[in-house]
């Protein structure tokens, strides 16, 4: 357990060089732009998850560039702990980026005075679309992680774009569906009435993550460096 905690800390140290002032400025602009355009801090749930998805690959990139998989072996970090650590890192990263986006957007909206918003006036229905968007990005991460563990970052860079392309393709496919009451959108509409959208998303994501973790553990166990 201590090793796992240390490993997560090591992942943050590993990714640290990527978090430059330039990166911080760019993501801050994206966050503020999104907040002002939508007038909602809750849209940052989706933005935060998107940023988490973009940054999640950093420890993989750094590990490959700097021979860190050998380091992990010399530090007695079990391969299962490496995989578990990367998943927990992704979880914490998503939490961190969502929180950062949320706080920055709140501050931005407050100072700009663009929108006078009140937390109490925002109902669950206004949050749901952003939670669904965040869930989609986390779902993409669940697909990307086993790819990184299977082939390494350099080879996975191209493959990891595939889920994004599939998402965009899926979006346009849904736009062309004449009867929106059918298919997934219709299903979520019906689910929304029951107020079970968020719990359903959580259950689905947890399931996907477990499958993803199992695949990653299997792939990484066989990797040689």
């Amino acid at each position: 357990m201590t090793n796992l905690k240390n490993f997560i800390q090591l992942n943050f140290m590993t990714a640290k060089p990527y978090f430059t002032v330039k990166t911080l400025l760019i993501i801050s602009m994206v966050i503020l732009f999104q907040a002002i355009m939508t007038g909602s801090v809750f849209s940052e749930i989706g933005v935060g998850a998107l940023l988490g998805t973009l940054f999640m690959g950093y420890p993989f990139a750094s590990a490959e560039k700097n021979n860190l998989d050998t380091l992990y072996a010399t530090l007695s970090i079990k391969r299962k702990a490496v995989v578990a650590g990367r998943y927990l890192f992704a979880l914490l990263l998503n939490g961190g980026t969502i929180l950062f986006a949320f706080v920055l957007a709140s501050a931005g909206l407050y100072f700009v005075g663009a929108v006078g918003f009140s937390y109490s006036s925002i109902g669950v229905s206004q949050i749901e679309p952003w939670i669904m968007l965040a869930a989609m990005f986390i779902g993409i991460q669940a697909i990307q992680l086993p790819i990184y563990f299977k082939v390494g970052y350099a080879k996975a860079k191209f493959l990891s774009i595939v889920p994004f392309v599939a998402l965009i393709a899926g979006y346009f496919m849904f736009l062309n569906v004449s009867d929106v009451s059918a298919g997934p959108i219709g299903f979520f509409d019906k689910l929304a009435v029951t107020g079970l959208v968020v719990p359903a998303i959580v259950v689905v994501l947890v399931g996907i993550m477990f499958i993803s973790y199992g695949l990653s553990a299997g792939f990484y166990k066989k990797r040689e460096f």
Binding site: N3, N66, T70, T74, L75, S76, K78
Partner: protein, 253 residues
């Protein structure tokens, strides 16, 4: 112990097997007498050909990143060794020369009081001064009899300076293992005229090679009485042993 052999013999592969970064075909890989798939990191220090630290981190950050994995990490030792080896803690890993990177990895090993240093080609690509410094470090390390070093190398001059024991591998098998003195007692250099040896006698010469004026090769000392007195038998160098063993594979039993 110096771990020697030509390129592709399996030196790095063996080290990687010891560290469990690649999988072997059997469970016979043991470190400190223990089989298993997790290296006992407290006891070993590893110096790889390619450094294992994030290039953009400073040496101070390197300590922050890895010290928590060692229960016996000594912060003061790390700082002291950095100073002693002229490594500035504010410098980034990528700003270090190759020799300095090797030193950094040795500093890390010394800071958690490793009993065994495993080094993969620590002196390759270094200038003579840096090589000499690394060899001095290794000699100092093994001056404590409870500590040992296993290093793969192909620079025989460095091997002469630092290794008491040698293991020579060829195509993944051990061709010789023992003390350096045993190696030089075991093999001799043999030269002679083109017609000095008959076919049976040529069979005793490892790496037999003919040139315009005669032949040369290596002989196991125990076979010296089987050759005629006309041939010249003399002390052999480590380089020649490697070359001749490579030519005439004769595996250790």
């Amino acid at each position: 112990m110096g771990f020697i052999g030509p390129n592709g013999a399996g030196k790095t592969t063996t080290i990687k097997l010891l560290l469990n970064v690649i999988k072997g075909n059997s469970d016979n890989v043991k470190l400190f007498g223990q089989a298993g798939n997790v290296v006992q990191n407290k006891q070993i220090g590893v110096v790889m050909d390619i450094p294992m630290y994030v290039e953009d981190l400073t040496l101070r950050d390197v300590e922050k990143a890895i010290s928590s994995f060692y229960s016996n990490w000594d912060k003061n030792k790390y700082t002291d060794y950095l100073k002693r080896f002229g490594l500035e803690s504010k410098k980034k890993v990528k700003e270090l020369s190759r020799g300095m990177k090797v030193k950094l990895q040795i500093v890390v090993a010394l800071s958690h009081d490793a009993n065994l240093l495993i080094l993969d080609e620590p002196t390759s690509g270094l200038d003579p001064v840096a090589r000499d410094e690394i060899c001095d470090l290794l000699r100092e390390f093994v001056s404590d009899e409870t500590k040992g070093v296993l290093f793969s190398i192909h620079i025989t001059a460095d091997l002469d300076k630092t290794a008491d024991y040698l293991t020579f591998i060829l195509n993944g098998s051990i061709a010789f293992t023992g003390t350096k003195d045993e190696l030089f007692e075991k093999y001799m250099r043999v030269t002679g005229g083109l017609h000095d040896l008959n076919t049976d006698q040529k069979g005793f010469v490892i790496g037999y090679r003919e040139h315009s004026t005669g032949f040369e090769g290596m002989l196991e000392t125990t076979n010296s009485s089987k050759l005629p007195k006309t041939v010249m038998i003399e002390r052999i160098t480590l380089d020649e042993i490697i070359i001749f063993l490579n030519k005439g594979v004769k595996l250790y039993d």
